[in-house]
Symmetry: C2
Subunit: 116 residues, 2 copies
């Protein structure tokens, strides 16, 4: 019954946080990280999202303290800006560490499926 | 309005498939890839899941054709074996390519948050 040695090295997916890992939110966080702040319309376009879908995921990230959302104007046009918080930057770093470890593990196990 | 050059290089998260990318399922697929087939109890232990949670995610992966689930016996004890299908191995490869690209892009953008 003992698999002590195996169990001690935790599987990398256990270090992933669903709030950050979810596909759309991972996209939002990575785009936001590449600039000081990003505009709602730019995120929508880059990630191929609808207004509703983007808004819903921004809310989850904002509630988790990972992004700050600021509303303002560009001329007369209302604009929404999204900025990664320091907590968000740390959460994304943790995600990336886990993803690197996952890729490393799979590379070590061989690149092809044993049955193919 | 035009961001043609930016838009042509599709964001790597658009290449992620929710069926494969979801945290628990990504764990199941990566553990399954490391062996010819893996036993239900081993998966459960490696990924820190309950029976119900693991069963639910196995069903999603089986319905998508990414794994095969076989029931048998080890002595008198019933056992469930999980095997990656060739389609599952390909789907995991696509996921890994997208994750590598995501990591590459973030590395190119600098390792720290600009505000920290």
């Amino acid at each position: 019954m003992s698999v002590a040695d195996e169990a001690e090295e935790q599987h990398p997916t256990l270090a992933l946080d669903d709030t950050v890992h979810q596909r759309v939110r991972l996209g939002i966080l990575t785009v936001a990280r590449e600039a000081e702040s990003v505009e709602f319309g730019f995120l929508k376009e880059q990630l191929g999202l609808t207004d509703g879908n983007l808004s819903r995921h921004l809310k989850v990230l904002e509630d988790a303290g990972l992004i700050a959302v600021n509303k303002g104007y560009a001329g007369r046009r209302p604009r929404t800006w999204v900025t990664l918080t320091p907590q968000g930057a740390q959460a994304l770093d943790r995600e990336l560490r886990a993803l690197r470890e996952l890729v490393r593990r799979l590379d070590a196990a061989g690149s092809g499926h044993p049955r193919t």
